[in-house]
Symmetry: C2
Subunit: 131 residues, 2 copies
DNA sequence: GTCCTTGCAAAATTTTTGCACAGGG
DNA sequence: CCCTGTGCAAAAATTTTGCAAGGAC
Protein backbone atom coordinates (compact mmCIF):
# COMPACT_ATOMS: atom_id res chain seq x y z
CA UNK A 1 0.00 0.00 0.00
CA UNK A 2 2.83 2.37 -0.84
CA UNK A 3 2.03 5.81 -2.14
CA UNK A 4 2.32 5.98 -5.89
CA UNK A 5 5.77 7.32 -6.51
CA UNK A 6 6.16 10.64 -8.22
CA UNK A 7 8.64 11.10 -11.02
CA UNK A 8 10.64 14.18 -11.72
CA UNK A 9 9.92 14.73 -15.38
CA UNK A 10 11.48 17.46 -17.48
CA UNK A 11 8.11 19.16 -17.64
CA UNK A 12 7.62 19.17 -13.89
CA UNK A 13 11.13 20.40 -13.27
CA UNK A 14 10.70 23.18 -15.79
CA UNK A 15 7.40 24.34 -14.32
CA UNK A 16 8.82 24.35 -10.81
CA UNK A 17 11.94 26.16 -11.96
CA UNK A 18 10.00 28.88 -13.78
CA UNK A 19 7.63 29.40 -10.90
CA UNK A 20 10.43 29.61 -8.37
CA UNK A 21 12.26 32.07 -10.59
CA UNK A 22 9.34 34.49 -10.79
CA UNK A 23 8.52 36.97 -8.09
CA UNK A 24 5.00 37.41 -9.40
CA UNK A 25 2.18 34.95 -8.82
CA UNK A 26 1.19 33.67 -12.20
CA UNK A 27 -1.97 31.92 -13.30
CA UNK A 28 -1.74 28.52 -14.96
CA UNK A 29 -2.14 30.23 -18.30
CA UNK A 30 0.68 32.70 -17.64
CA UNK A 31 3.00 29.95 -16.53
CA UNK A 32 2.04 27.95 -19.58
CA UNK A 33 3.22 30.64 -21.97
CA UNK A 34 6.44 31.06 -19.99
CA UNK A 35 7.19 27.37 -19.98
CA UNK A 36 6.22 26.98 -23.60
CA UNK A 37 9.01 29.36 -24.54
CA UNK A 38 11.44 26.70 -23.37
CA UNK A 39 9.41 23.62 -24.30
CA UNK A 40 7.06 24.48 -27.15
CA UNK A 41 5.13 21.22 -27.19
CA UNK A 42 4.20 21.10 -23.53
CA UNK A 43 0.46 21.05 -23.08
CA UNK A 44 -1.68 23.24 -20.89
CA UNK A 45 -3.13 20.22 -19.13
CA UNK A 46 0.36 19.19 -18.11
CA UNK A 47 0.80 22.58 -16.52
CA UNK A 48 -2.51 22.26 -14.68
CA UNK A 49 -1.79 18.73 -13.55
CA UNK A 50 1.66 19.59 -12.30
CA UNK A 51 0.58 22.70 -10.48
CA UNK A 52 -2.02 20.64 -8.62
CA UNK A 53 0.51 17.94 -7.86
CA UNK A 54 3.17 20.36 -6.68
CA UNK A 55 0.63 22.15 -4.53
CA UNK A 56 -0.51 18.89 -2.89
CA UNK A 57 3.11 18.02 -2.25
CA UNK A 58 3.56 21.46 -0.67
CA UNK A 59 6.29 22.32 -3.13
CA UNK A 60 4.38 25.42 -4.14
CA UNK A 61 1.42 27.38 -2.82
CA UNK A 62 -1.97 27.67 -4.40
CA UNK A 63 -3.40 31.09 -3.66
CA UNK A 64 -7.11 31.73 -3.16
CA UNK A 65 -7.22 28.48 -1.19
CA UNK A 66 -9.58 25.79 -2.44
CA UNK A 67 -12.15 26.42 -5.10
CA UNK A 68 -12.35 29.33 -7.44
CA UNK A 69 -16.09 29.68 -7.55
CA UNK A 70 -17.32 33.07 -6.48
CA UNK A 71 -19.58 33.18 -3.45
CA UNK A 72 -21.90 35.94 -2.33
CA UNK A 73 -22.96 37.19 1.05
CA UNK A 74 -26.16 39.07 1.80
CA UNK A 75 -24.75 40.53 4.99
CA UNK A 76 -22.67 43.63 4.34
CA UNK A 77 -21.88 44.25 8.02
CA UNK A 78 -18.20 43.61 8.66
CA UNK A 79 -17.71 40.07 9.80
CA UNK A 80 -15.25 37.25 9.35
CA UNK A 81 -15.52 34.06 7.37
CA UNK A 82 -14.20 30.57 7.79
CA UNK A 83 -13.88 28.29 4.78
CA UNK A 84 -13.77 24.52 4.80
CA UNK A 85 -10.58 23.48 3.05
CA UNK A 86 -12.25 20.33 1.80
CA UNK A 87 -15.68 21.27 0.50
CA UNK A 88 -15.35 25.04 0.18
CA UNK A 89 -18.33 25.82 2.40
CA UNK A 90 -18.16 29.26 4.01
CA UNK A 91 -19.56 30.23 7.40
CA UNK A 92 -19.69 33.43 9.44
CA UNK A 93 -17.70 34.17 12.55
CA UNK A 94 -18.78 36.46 15.34
CA UNK A 95 -17.66 40.01 14.58
CA UNK A 96 -15.42 40.34 17.61
CA UNK A 97 -13.61 37.01 17.31
CA UNK A 98 -10.28 38.65 16.53
CA UNK A 99 -8.89 42.09 15.84
CA UNK A 100 -8.42 43.30 12.28
CA UNK A 101 -4.78 43.61 11.25
CA UNK A 102 -3.52 47.16 10.95
CA UNK A 103 -3.30 48.41 7.39
CA UNK A 104 -3.44 52.20 7.53
CA UNK A 105 0.25 52.53 8.19
CA UNK A 106 1.30 49.76 5.83
CA UNK A 107 3.43 50.79 2.88
CA UNK A 108 3.97 48.47 -0.03
CA UNK A 109 6.18 49.37 -2.99
CA UNK A 110 4.02 49.79 -6.08
CA UNK A 111 0.67 49.60 -4.30
CA UNK A 112 -1.78 51.85 -2.55
CA UNK A 113 -3.11 49.74 0.29
CA UNK A 114 -6.84 50.07 0.79
CA UNK A 115 -7.85 47.18 2.97
CA UNK A 116 -7.24 43.78 4.35
CA UNK A 117 -9.17 40.55 4.24
CA UNK A 118 -8.89 37.88 6.90
CA UNK A 119 -10.28 34.44 6.30
CA UNK A 120 -9.99 31.49 8.64
CA UNK A 121 -9.58 27.97 7.38
CA UNK A 122 -10.78 24.74 8.86
CA UNK A 123 -12.60 21.51 8.36
CA UNK A 124 -16.35 21.50 8.71
CA UNK A 125 -17.89 18.74 10.84
CA UNK A 126 -19.49 17.08 7.87
CA UNK A 127 -16.17 16.74 6.07
CA UNK A 128 -14.36 15.70 9.23
CA UNK A 129 -16.81 12.85 9.80
CA UNK A 130 -16.56 11.64 6.18
CA UNK A 131 -12.79 11.80 6.27
CA UNK B 1 -23.75 62.75 -16.99
CA UNK B 2 -26.13 61.15 -14.55
CA UNK B 3 -25.58 57.54 -13.53
CA UNK B 4 -27.92 55.21 -15.38
CA UNK B 5 -30.75 54.67 -12.97
CA UNK B 6 -31.27 51.21 -11.59
CA UNK B 7 -34.66 49.62 -11.47
CA UNK B 8 -35.96 47.34 -8.79
CA UNK B 9 -37.24 44.43 -10.82
CA UNK B 10 -39.01 41.43 -9.36
CA UNK B 11 -35.96 39.33 -10.23
CA UNK B 12 -33.54 41.61 -8.44
CA UNK B 13 -35.74 41.85 -5.39
CA UNK B 14 -36.13 38.10 -5.24
CA UNK B 15 -32.39 37.46 -5.52
CA UNK B 16 -31.63 40.00 -2.81
CA UNK B 17 -34.35 38.61 -0.59
CA UNK B 18 -33.15 35.03 -0.94
CA UNK B 19 -29.54 35.95 -0.34
CA UNK B 20 -30.38 38.03 2.73
CA UNK B 21 -32.47 35.19 4.09
CA UNK B 22 -29.69 32.63 3.89
CA UNK B 23 -26.97 32.35 6.46
CA UNK B 24 -24.73 30.43 4.10
CA UNK B 25 -22.73 32.00 1.30
CA UNK B 26 -24.09 30.57 -1.90
CA UNK B 27 -22.56 30.47 -5.34
CA UNK B 28 -24.43 31.97 -8.27
CA UNK B 29 -25.55 28.47 -9.21
CA UNK B 30 -26.88 27.70 -5.72
CA UNK B 31 -28.76 30.94 -5.60
CA UNK B 32 -30.12 30.26 -9.06
CA UNK B 33 -31.76 27.01 -7.98
CA UNK B 34 -33.18 28.67 -4.87
CA UNK B 35 -34.63 31.55 -6.78
CA UNK B 36 -35.92 29.31 -9.53
CA UNK B 37 -38.11 27.58 -6.99
CA UNK B 38 -40.06 30.82 -6.69
CA UNK B 39 -39.63 32.06 -10.27
CA UNK B 40 -39.11 29.09 -12.55
CA UNK B 41 -38.33 31.04 -15.73
CA UNK B 42 -35.60 33.24 -14.32
CA UNK B 43 -32.37 32.76 -16.19
CA UNK B 44 -28.94 32.07 -14.80
CA UNK B 45 -27.52 35.11 -16.54
CA UNK B 46 -30.02 37.29 -14.72
CA UNK B 47 -28.69 35.90 -11.46
CA UNK B 48 -25.11 36.59 -12.50
CA UNK B 49 -25.91 40.08 -13.73
CA UNK B 50 -27.80 40.99 -10.60
CA UNK B 51 -25.19 39.62 -8.23
CA UNK B 52 -22.56 41.77 -9.96
CA UNK B 53 -24.84 44.80 -9.85
CA UNK B 54 -25.76 44.35 -6.22
CA UNK B 55 -22.13 43.84 -5.30
CA UNK B 56 -21.08 47.03 -7.11
CA UNK B 57 -23.83 48.88 -5.31
CA UNK B 58 -22.55 47.44 -2.00
CA UNK B 59 -25.90 45.85 -1.33
CA UNK B 60 -24.20 42.49 -0.96
CA UNK B 61 -20.63 41.24 -0.63
CA UNK B 62 -18.71 39.29 -3.20
CA UNK B 63 -16.35 36.91 -1.43
CA UNK B 64 -12.95 35.96 -2.84
CA UNK B 65 -12.57 39.57 -4.01
CA UNK B 66 -12.02 40.15 -7.70
CA UNK B 67 -11.23 37.42 -10.14
CA UNK B 68 -11.64 33.74 -9.67
CA UNK B 69 -8.56 32.59 -11.50
CA UNK B 70 -6.24 30.49 -9.41
CA UNK B 71 -2.72 31.80 -8.91
CA UNK B 72 0.35 29.94 -7.81
CA UNK B 73 3.36 30.91 -5.75
CA UNK B 74 6.76 29.25 -5.91
CA UNK B 75 7.70 30.53 -2.48
CA UNK B 76 6.37 28.31 0.29
CA UNK B 77 7.89 30.37 3.09
CA UNK B 78 5.15 32.09 5.05
CA UNK B 79 4.60 35.55 3.68
CA UNK B 80 1.74 37.92 2.97
CA UNK B 81 0.13 38.93 -0.27
CA UNK B 82 -1.48 42.04 -1.57
CA UNK B 83 -3.90 41.87 -4.45
CA UNK B 84 -4.85 44.66 -6.81
CA UNK B 85 -8.61 45.04 -6.66
CA UNK B 86 -8.67 46.18 -10.28
CA UNK B 87 -6.42 43.84 -12.25
CA UNK B 88 -5.99 40.97 -9.82
CA UNK B 89 -2.20 41.12 -9.77
CA UNK B 90 -0.66 39.69 -6.61
CA UNK B 91 2.55 40.83 -4.94
CA UNK B 92 4.49 39.75 -1.87
CA UNK B 93 4.79 41.64 1.39
CA UNK B 94 7.70 41.51 3.76
CA UNK B 95 7.19 38.69 6.26
CA UNK B 96 7.12 40.92 9.32
CA UNK B 97 4.75 43.57 8.02
CA UNK B 98 2.03 42.65 10.48
CA UNK B 99 1.32 40.02 13.08
CA UNK B 100 -0.74 36.97 12.21
CA UNK B 101 -4.16 36.92 13.83
CA UNK B 102 -4.53 34.40 16.64
CA UNK B 103 -6.38 31.25 15.64
CA UNK B 104 -5.29 28.55 18.09
CA UNK B 105 -7.84 29.58 20.66
CA UNK B 106 -10.59 30.33 18.21
CA UNK B 107 -13.68 28.17 18.47
CA UNK B 108 -16.25 28.10 15.72
CA UNK B 109 -19.42 26.06 15.92
CA UNK B 110 -19.30 23.28 13.36
CA UNK B 111 -15.68 23.79 12.33
CA UNK B 112 -12.22 22.69 13.37
CA UNK B 113 -10.09 25.76 12.80
CA UNK B 114 -6.74 24.98 11.24
CA UNK B 115 -5.40 28.27 10.00
CA UNK B 116 -5.95 31.80 8.89
CA UNK B 117 -5.20 33.67 5.69
CA UNK B 118 -4.56 37.37 5.56
CA UNK B 119 -4.58 39.18 2.27
CA UNK B 120 -4.18 42.89 1.79
CA UNK B 121 -6.00 44.75 -0.93
CA UNK B 122 -4.96 47.81 -2.85
CA UNK B 123 -4.52 49.43 -6.21
CA UNK B 124 -1.30 48.79 -8.08
CA UNK B 125 0.47 51.82 -9.56
CA UNK B 126 -0.27 50.76 -13.09
CA UNK B 127 -4.01 50.61 -12.44
CA UNK B 128 -3.96 53.82 -10.42
CA UNK B 129 -2.35 55.71 -13.30
CA UNK B 130 -4.80 54.33 -15.87
CA UNK B 131 -7.77 55.11 -13.65
C1' DG C 1 -42.57 56.31 -24.03
C1' DT C 2 -37.84 55.59 -22.62
C1' DC C 3 -34.28 52.79 -21.88
C1' DC C 4 -32.92 49.53 -18.24
C1' DT C 5 -33.53 44.64 -17.65
C1' DT C 6 -34.75 40.07 -18.96
C1' DG C 7 -34.58 35.38 -21.17
C1' DC C 8 -32.49 32.67 -24.29
C1' DA C 9 -28.85 30.92 -26.77
C1' DA C 10 -24.38 31.17 -28.02
C1' DA C 11 -19.64 32.25 -26.87
C1' DA C 12 -15.79 32.88 -23.90
C1' DT C 13 -12.98 31.48 -20.18
C1' DT C 14 -10.97 28.37 -17.02
C1' DT C 15 -10.25 23.67 -15.58
C1' DT C 16 -10.70 18.65 -15.89
C1' DT C 17 -10.69 14.17 -18.12
C1' DG C 18 -10.07 9.97 -21.45
C1' DC C 19 -6.85 7.65 -23.89
C1' DA C 20 -2.92 5.93 -26.43
C1' DC C 21 1.86 6.54 -26.26
C1' DA C 22 6.34 8.16 -24.17
C1' DG C 23 9.84 7.82 -20.92
C1' DG C 24 11.60 7.96 -15.76
C1' DG C 25 13.40 4.96 -12.24
C1' DC D 1 9.79 -3.29 -17.88
C1' DC D 2 6.32 -1.18 -15.17
C1' DC D 3 3.53 2.32 -14.31
C1' DT D 4 3.37 7.35 -13.83
C1' DG D 5 3.16 11.29 -16.71
C1' DT D 6 2.47 13.46 -21.28
C1' DG D 7 0.11 15.48 -25.35
C1' DC D 8 -3.89 16.02 -27.64
C1' DA D 9 -8.55 16.61 -28.11
C1' DA D 10 -12.80 16.67 -26.21
C1' DA D 11 -15.76 17.68 -22.28
C1' DA D 12 -17.06 19.96 -18.13
C1' DA D 13 -17.68 23.84 -15.31
C1' DT D 14 -18.20 28.67 -14.68
C1' DT D 15 -19.06 33.24 -16.39
C1' DT D 16 -20.02 36.69 -19.98
C1' DT D 17 -22.30 38.61 -24.01
C1' DG D 18 -25.57 39.76 -28.17
C1' DC D 19 -30.01 40.67 -29.14
C1' DA D 20 -34.98 41.08 -29.49
C1' DA D 21 -38.76 41.50 -26.42
C1' DG D 22 -40.55 42.92 -21.76
C1' DG D 23 -41.58 45.95 -18.10
C1' DA D 24 -40.09 49.79 -14.39
C1' DC D 25 -40.73 54.37 -13.63
Amino acid sequence: MAQPQTRMTRQRMLILEELRGMCSHPTAEELYSRVRARMPHISLSTVYRNLEMLASAREILRLDSAGTIRRFDGNTMPHRHIKCTRCGRVADLPADSCPEPEHDSLHVEGFTVTGVRVEFEGLCDECRLTQ
